[in-house]
Amino acid sequence: MATDSGAPSKARAWLFFIAPIVVLAAVIALFVSTRGAGLNVEPAVPIETVQFGRTILRPGEIELHLRNTSPQPITISQVSINEAIWPYTISPGRIIPRLGKAVLTLNYVWVQSEAYEITVFTGNSIPFTASIPVATVTPNASAATLWKFTLIGIYVGIIPVILGMFWLPALRQLGSRAMLFLMAATVGLLIFLGIDAISEALEIGGELEDTFQATGLIAIGIVGTWLLLQAVSRRQETIGRSAAGQRMSLAAVIAVGIGLHNLGEGLAIGAAYAVGAAALGTFLVVGFIIQNITEGLGIVVPIAKDKPSLRTLAILGLIGGAPAILGAWVGGLVSSRALSVLFLAIGAGAVFQVAYAIGRKMVWTTKAADEMPVTAFAGVLAGMLVLYVTGIAIK
């Protein structure tokens, strides 16, 4: 009896599941076949958008990567550079399908460090302009440039983070209140970094075409990373480790969060070098070095009372700093705005989760409960102020 009625009810469930989809398809078909229910939804002029990607400069040549982000194919007709019509080649062809990519090449004798503006006209006389703020030969992925970007990553990421960890012996001398202050400062630091990363992501996202939905990308990056790290740290706790083990895992999570943040930082620096902007000042790198030394401190604060081995410390330092190298590679050699937005959002999600984890730990474990509000307040604010002041050097 039970098996007899089981099959039809399952079929019924499927039917109820499918029916709205079928009706929906019918409604869409009706809307399309009546040309938008009588509204003339055809635009008077085709809507055309072009997203510029990488610009590669070689001696006597400018290569422009572009993507058609409009709802229909577009045709590239004419190109002008600094108010002069210029011959060009385009591959694979002048007609670019929706979301298709094309590479446009100009044989143009550009001048080192000068600025250029390239206007691309479509067949419907719609212009799109790409800017080259500072012309310089674009680094390509040779071993030499890879090493250069690796060096930038080491300077910006690994060295300052590990230097910051050298405060560990000094930390051991501190009382519980001072430790609490430092933990709070780490939280402030992380909140500041997270907000900074979001604002950066929004700024880059603003240059993205609507098709990429920058805001949605940022939300996915933040929420996804937060939940992932949350799940990982929960698992660590439920395994039932010792208190020391839990402190170590907190340090590890902080290192991961800071590492993801440094990935975004490396990305920004790499991209700046690729477009020649960083050639205007090594100030940027110096600023990041100063700022990042505080990150190393943040990692070792939870394990200050333990005796971590040098190897453990080195691994933590690498987790925190090395992603800057990867970021510099990607930023300098790939330079995708959508990828940059996603990476920055992942970094933001990571540091927020870590800030939350530390905060929770502080509330639950501190013994000096009475002193906590004032010390925590001062610590969080101090952490944020340190980054604000060191940030002045970068902006």
């Binding site: 002069a84 060009y88 212009p127």
Partner: protein, 326 residues
């Protein structure tokens, strides 16, 4: 389209290896001129700038009872897509399907009768430079020659004074109506004609604001940017030939246009209202509506550029070449 693609491919120049930035200036300058690849479709456009160069139109000629010579024209205004650069379509407005419109050429004191038929969806008019009654001025309303869609009007007046003039639409917004293509040359020869020359050419200077942002994207003489370029359709002359150029500036949005002749000088007759030249020069500047007549001959064979000496205009299309043969 395919032909354009092919010619684009053949344009590619390989870049040598190990060329540092320091060497950039030394290489390839001679071959690197702003220009365009391919040609526009003149047949589809309905006009060819090479033909416009010498297309003087005396209209339908007859004699009035009082002995006066009558020149009759029919102008049709319409909306027209023009391929202004290869692959680039511009929503233009035209007189008789061409940019610039027909070059009216009559003698001083002749009667001119121009019937305007409006086949477009906007009101238009013809405003002639010259001396005529107010109701022939094409400015204010239907009674003075502004023609509603599907309407018509007949402009009629005596041609005076002699000189080189122009006509254009004078319907608001004025700059737009002119910039979209409604302009042309109006030549009034003195009684008995100008002194004989070997060749006469018309050059109407203008620009195209293809994205309608109030700034020109392209510049040209006789409708198509770069048309008379040395790789395309240079204007052929002979050594010693006396050449007369009727030069009219109808450029909108930019305040000043100019004409510069390479490796030569010309006699210049501003507005063509005198038979005595005012200047012997190689460069003249003209504001909107200004025009003048140039006379010169080449002493040596060769390729000689003529272009706006506002060089930005030249690199955006207002450039051409005289190919002078022995």
């Amino acid at each position: 389209m395919a032909a354009i693609g092919l010619s684009l491919q053949s344009q590619r120049v390989t870049t040598g290896p190990n060329t540092g930035p320091a060497e950039l200036g030394a290489r390839g300058h001679a071959t690197m001129m702003p220009s365009m690849d391919g040609e526009v479709d003149h047949v589809k456009n309905g006009f060819n700038p090479s033909a416009l160069l010498t297309d003087f139109d005396a209209g339908k000629i007859s004699t009035l009872p009082n002995g006066q010579i009558l020149h009759e024209y029919t102008f049709v205004v319409k909306n027209q897509m023009i391929e202004v650069m290869p692959g680039l379509e511009f929503a233009a407005w035209t007189y008789n399907g061409r940019i610039p419109g027909p070059t009216i050429r009559v003698n001083e004191g002749d009667r001119v009768r121009v019937e305007l038929l409006n086949a477009s969806d906007h009101a238009h008019s013809i405003h002639f430079h010259g001396v005529h009654p107010g109701n022939m001025d094409g400015v204010f309303d239907a009674r003075s020659g502004v023609v509603a869609p599907s309407g018509k009007y007949v402009y009629e007046f005596d041609a005076e004074p002699f000189g080189l003039h122009l006509y254009h639409c004078h319907t608001a917004p004025l700059a737009k109506h002119i910039a979209k293509g409604l302009y042309g040359a109006f030549i009034v020869d003195p009684k008995g004609g100008r002194p004989k020359v070997d060749r006469e050419l018309i050059m109407v200077m203008s620009g195209f604001d293809v994205d309608f942002d109030g700034k020109n994207d392209f510049y040209q003489v006789n409708g198509i940017p770069f048309h008379y370029d040395h790789k395309k359709n240079p204007i052929k002359l002979k050594v010693g030939e006396l050449v007369r150029v009727y030069l009219v500036n109808t450029l909108e949005y930019d305040p000043v246009n100019s004409f510069h002749l390479h490796a030569n000088f010309f006699q210049y007759y501003p507005t063509g209202t005198s038979l005595t030249p005012s200047e012997f020069t190689d460069t003249v500047a003209l504001m909107q509506g200004q025009r003048g007549i140039l006379e010169f001959s080449y002493r040596y064979p060769g390729l000689y550029m003529f272009h706006a000496h506002k060089t930005e205009f030249a690199e955006l299309g207002w450039t051409g070449v005289f190919e002078v043969e022995a």
